[in-house]
Symmetry: C2
């Protein structure tokens, strides 16, 4: 089945407490290569049929209207999965 992947991240200017907690845990576990961590969301939508331009446009619209909160989140990727 064809799939579309949609990726949503907290905006750069928004504090990401989950990311901060992850960074703290990484450091406590001895992972010292990382200076920042941010957590977002990844969606996979299975498509009924081909991934046409129209379907991709619908996925973009769904990403903006349902899958992200535009005040605090940015849609960083909407694309056909390999």
């Amino acid at each position: 089945m064809n799939k579309i992947v949609i990726e949503v991240m907290p905006k750069v200017e928004i504090l990401d407490p989950q990311g901060k907690a992850i960074l703290g845990a990484l450091k406590r576990m001895g992972f010292n290569n990382f200076t920042e961590a941010r957590q977002g969301k990844r969606f996979e939508l299975t498509v009924d049929g081909e991934v046409t331009d129209e379907v991709l446009k619908a996925a973009h619209e769904a990403a903006d209207k349902l899958l992200s909160n535009p005040v605090i989140e940015a849609v960083v990727n909407v694309s056909k999965m390999d």
Copy 2:
């Protein structure tokens, strides 16, 4: 700054109630091209310096030990961000 992206999804055999809720909302909103939706997580780790093989190995280890629950989730991608 160099970044590593880590992506985690619920395993195929695991029920994903969030994904089911999203699919229901998509249908109610008139998006009828999609037959399944699944929700996972996307992490961005900022790296202090170059993304060497050693740093990527540490990111894989962090993905397995901290960022995913191996009983119900699969790490689907660990890679340097473009």
